[in-house]
């Protein structure tokens, strides 16, 4: 059986752990298979869970979150017959039985940034991150580049919710940040903040501005108020990995960008009226260019800074 280990946020984090769970769920429903799962409670359980699942014969062992890269690296050597897959992680060298799946979040964020800039009437848009970590800056950086691509004079206001894990579950602060950004003129806000994002989207809807969801399709939360959602198809990654089972390819990086439909923007009935054809065309064009390599969105990781936004 495959095993799935959720990061500390817990499997219902309204974010990528939840997406991973949905992917696994879909696989289970379609194949009738079963999978092992655990929600971590502490840092020390990372290795513990990896080893326990490996020892019990689970294969592949899928982990979500960059924090798993290091423990997976440490454990993999002891279980050569088990395959380990980590989503979001990065390692200088990837062991033979480990596969790292990375998403080009900045590309997806770039597209929703473009949409934000086009939907904005004030020329000011907002970004609200959860905990201040590089990954979230990475989201914000792609977003800002997209905004600037459409409107070089646009202002991007970026805020982080906090510096502790509590920043992922503080919708009240998310609301307050949203209001603060609205006071500064923002009329589209992009939330990459887990449970805090619930507050952001809510307040945006209450205050009658547009918001952008993250990770999974959150358009339905406030129909007609959520411009789009930046999709990060963790569910697909997990689904595919589980489907390959023990034969999953390992020993390298899988990069899921726009080309692979690993990231993207969500369109459905809930936001159909908000997205004009013009927007769609522009975004589609940019998408093609990014895929073809004609357009390069700079990743925050490239040199730990962002050309379009100063954190």
């Amino acid at each position: 059986d495959p095993a799935l280990i959720f990061d500390l946020g817990g499997k219902f984090d309204k974010s990528f752990n939840e997406a991973a769970f949905n992917g696994a769920q879909r696989w289970a429903e379609e194949t009738g298979g079963t999978f092992l799962e655990i929600e971590l409670q502490s840092e020390a359980q990372r290795e513990q869970a990896l080893r326990r699942f490996a020892e019990s014969g689970a294969n592949p062992v899928i982990t979500t979150g960059f924090a798993f890269a290091d423990p997976v690296n440490a454990v993999a050597g002891d279980y050569p017959d088990t395959k380990f897959v980590n989503i979001d992680g990065w390692l200088p060298e990837v062991p033979a039985n480990v596969q790292l799946i990375g998403f080009q979040e900045h590309q997806g964020s770039y597209l929703v940034g473009m949409m934000a800039a086009m939907a904005s009437e004030t020329g000011t848009v907002g970004f609200i991150g959860g905990m201040d970590i590089p990954l979230i800056r990475h989201f914000g950086c792609g977003y800002a580049q997209g905004v600037k691509a459409v409107n070089p004079d646009a202002t991007v206001i970026a805020n982080m919710t906090g510096t502790t894990p509590a920043a992922w579950n503080d919708p009240v602060k998310g609301s307050e940040l949203t209001k603060a950004q609205i006071s500064q003129g923002a009329d589209v806000v992009y939330a990459a903040a887990g449970g805090t994002g619930v507050g952001v989207l809510q307040t945006a809807a209450d205050e009658d501005i547009l918001s952008i969801g993250v990770d999974s399709n959150q358009n339905h939360l406030h129909p007609g108020k959520v411009l789009t959602s930046m999709l990060k198809r963790v569910d697909v990654a997990v689904y595919e990995t589980m489907k390959s089972g023990g034969d999953v390819e390992t020993g390298g990086f899988t990069v899921l960008g726009l080309a692979e439909d690993g990231v993207g923007y969500a369109m459905d009935d809930n936001n159909a009226s908000l997205v004009t054809d013009e927007m769609k065309a522009a975004v589609e064009e940019a998408r093609e260019k990014i895929i073809s390599g004609d357009l390069e969105v700079v990743a925050y990781y490239a040199n730990d800074s962002c050309p379009a936004l100063d954190f």
């Binding site: 201040d132 906090g162 510096t163 602060k173 307050e176 603060a180 006071s183 809510q202």
Partner: protein, 322 residues
């Protein structure tokens, strides 16, 4: 920094201060009666969940509010059982209540709604809506006072007004009524109350229940007024900040208002990097901004507040015979 920005900043201050204020006054009642309560956080969280959950189920925010208060009071009574009846350690009991609330809320939420420890989004009558005070729109254009009235004073949920009203009421109850006199006495010297023929246990339970009611309102405010539903751990440490505010306020109602407004202001400033940049002239780094409220608190505490003396019998169970 223009006038409107100031108004917005203060508006945000009021919203952020309200849950702190309610929790702080809750703690004030309890601690004035000699029962230390580090379980404010847990009670607020439990109330946030139950008010949102019941509001979602019934569609009525008022029923939800009652349920939130009920849950908070239940935890208060547990605290009372441990620290009043069984003379246990009040700090431990408080710690336990925080854990209990953190665990139970998600467990029950998952059991009831299967939405990953969240409640469904509240809509319509299941939520406290902002209230527009009379003439707010008409007066909005009056210079200075207009915006203050329309933007700052008007447009909050009823619980905000309730919270601010609680300050004078608390003051009045504590210092102008028989109950208040006895309550303060029991926190200073329970033996004096006992020998005066008044039940120490009864008074302390009453205080703890009031604490529960106020924490309940604070929690309901979070999930049904500021937000439209419950998210796990959504109290996010506000109970502890309220506790700090209580010490800051030296256990006095009006000072509690000032202290929580100050914390609210710090919180509001944290969301307005632009204002801070404008005021001090340089752009502050994100993490520095995040630490600012806490650094400011320490500075103010060290510079201006001086020694805070808690109620003398605080934290100790009343034991006559050993």
């Amino acid at each position: 920094m223009d006038f409107l920005t100031v108004i917005q900043l203060l508006d945000s201050t009021v919203r952020l201060a309200t849950p702190l204020l309610l929790a702080c006054l809750a703690g004030l009642f309890s601690e004035r009666a000699g029962i230390f309560d580090i379980g404010l956080e847990g009670k607020m969280l439990a109330a946030a969940f139950f008010s949102a959950a019941v509001a979602a189920l019934t569609g009525s925010v008022w029923v939800g509010l009652l349920a939130g208060i009920g849950a908070s009071v239940a935890l208060s009574l547990l605290h009372g059982l441990a620290s009043i009846t069984f003379r246990g350690n009040q700090l431990i009991s408080g710690v336990a209540i925080n854990f209990l609330a953190a665990g139970l809320t998600v467990l029950i939420a998952q059991d009831w709604f299967s939405q990953g420890g969240r409640t469904p989004s509240l809509m319509g009558g299941a939520r406290f809506e902002p209230i527009t005070l009379p003439f707010a729109d008409a007066l909005a254009d009056v210079p200075f006072l207009g915006p203050v009235y329309a933007e700052l004073i008007s447009g909050h949920s009823i619980l905000v007004y309730l919270a601010f009203l609680t300050v004078p009421v608390t003051w009045w109850v504590l210092f102008r009524t028989r109950f208040g006199l006895r309550l303060r006495a029991v926190g200073e010297n329970p033996a004096a109350v006992d020998t005066a023929g008044v039940s120490v246990i009864g008074l302390r339970y009453a205080a703890v229940v009031i604490c529960g009611v106020l924490c309940g309102i604070a929690g309901a405010y979070l999930s049904t007024a500021l937000q439209a539903g419950f998210v796990k751990d959504m109290s996010a440490g506000r109970g502890f900040i309220a506790l700090a505010a209580l010490i800051f306020a030296k256990w006095r109602p009006w000072h509690a208002l000032y202290a929580t407004l100050l914390f609210g202001l710090f919180g509001a400033l944290e969301t307005r990097q632009d204002v801070i940049t404008a005021v001090i002239g340089i752009k502050v780094q994100g993490q520095v901004l995040g630490a600012l409220p806490y650094v400011m608190t320490v500075i103010i505490l060290a510079g201006f507040v001086g020694k805070a003396i808690p109620p003398r019998a605080g934290g100790q169970p009343y034991v006559k015979e050993r």
